[in-house]
Amino acid sequence: MTTTQQIITIGMAVLATVLTRFLPFIIFPSGKEMPKVIQYLGKVLPAAVFGFLVVFCLKNVEILSGSHGIPELIAVAVVTVLHLWKRQMLLSILGGTVVYMFLVQLIF
């Protein structure tokens, strides 16, 4: 690829990404009455998206091979227990990450 072609390729990636980000705001500008269904989705969607993001992060975990997702399972359990116990966001994240690093570096 020439440098110009590289710049065009990167430009296309920028354009596509910017489009996905701005589209909802272009279609439904603030100040204008939003359709009922979009108002409703804006309310119920975030909860589902938070779940989706957890699955998205773990999408490459192989259940049938490798470490069978055991380090991920243990680390997610540690995060959950820590969080339900202390409810300190940073502590839960730190605890889970340290356990996960220990597991993947030294055990699995």
Partner: protein
């Protein structure tokens, strides 16, 4: 209260929420910069793409595209598909981002999985400004990513500390945000759908193609199940 005081307080209030992202983004950013580096691109490439594209998986894929044959249309469509989840975030943030003035452009431009989750889930602390708080969350997150990508591009090959597994910080953050949502809401249906439907889609379509079907399933389920979803108060 003076304006600078509020801006400063917003920054100080935003920073702790970005700490897990600092860990995750520096690590992933360095990995990305290193990947660019070993693929034969100078540090300017990861630096510029992390500033302008700022979407992790799309950037990694972009490296492959830059190495392959020139095909701008395919690049456009592929990146559009990978980043389609931003449409989700936009719809969820329409109200939250309104009334933030010129900052809104950057809030939208810099909206990533992590900034979306923080801005969407956090109750904006008192004595801070909503717009500035969300602005700092967004710009701090992006600076970590740009910093990581640039450092990775320059020094990537010199790192010898075993960082394997550090990126789990981000998974852990999403788990915590999901837990907080479960603890906060009265009606768990949307949260449950948000786990079950993507898992079903993942099992059917595999990790590379599950995003769009999962989104369609979620949209369809939320619209079909409107009545039970609104029972016992809204999901939020």
């Amino acid at each position: 209260m003076n304006k600078n005081g509020i801006i400063k307080r917003s920054l100080l209030a935003a920073f702790p929420y970005t700490l897990p992202i600092l860990a995750g983004f520096l690590f992933l950013g360095i990995t990305y910069g290193l990947y660019m580096n070993v693929s034969g691109f100078g540090f300017v490439y990861p630096m510029v793409t992390s500033m302008l594209v700022f979407a992790g998986s799309a950037e990694f894929l972009l490296v492959n595209m830059l190495l392959g044959a020139f095909d701008p249309i395919q690049t456009f469509l592929m990146i559009l598909m990978i980043n389609a989840r931003h449409l989700f975030y936009g719809i969820s943030l329409l109200e939250k981002y309104s009334g933030t003035g010129l900052k809104k452009f950057y809030l939208i431009f810099g909206m990533c999985d992590e900034s979306f989750s923080v801005n969407c889930s956090v109750d904006i602390p008192e004595n801070t400004d909503k717009g500035w708080f969300m602005f700092f969350v967004t710009i701090l997150n992006q600076s970590y990513w740009v910093l990581g990508a640039t450092l990775g591009g320059i020094f990537g090959s010199f790192i010898n500390f075993n960082t394997e597994g550090l990126d789990f910080a981000m998974t852990a953050m999403f788990v915590v945000i999901f837990l907080e949502q479960l603890l906060k809401e009265k009606n768990h249906l949307s949260s449950v759908l948000g786990i079950v439907l993507p898992v079903v889609s993942l099992l059917i379509f595999g990790p590379d193609k599950f995003i769009i079907p999962a989104m369609i399933m979620i949209f369809a389920a939320l619209i079909l199940l409107k009545k039970p979803l609104l029972k016992g108060g809204a999901a939020i």
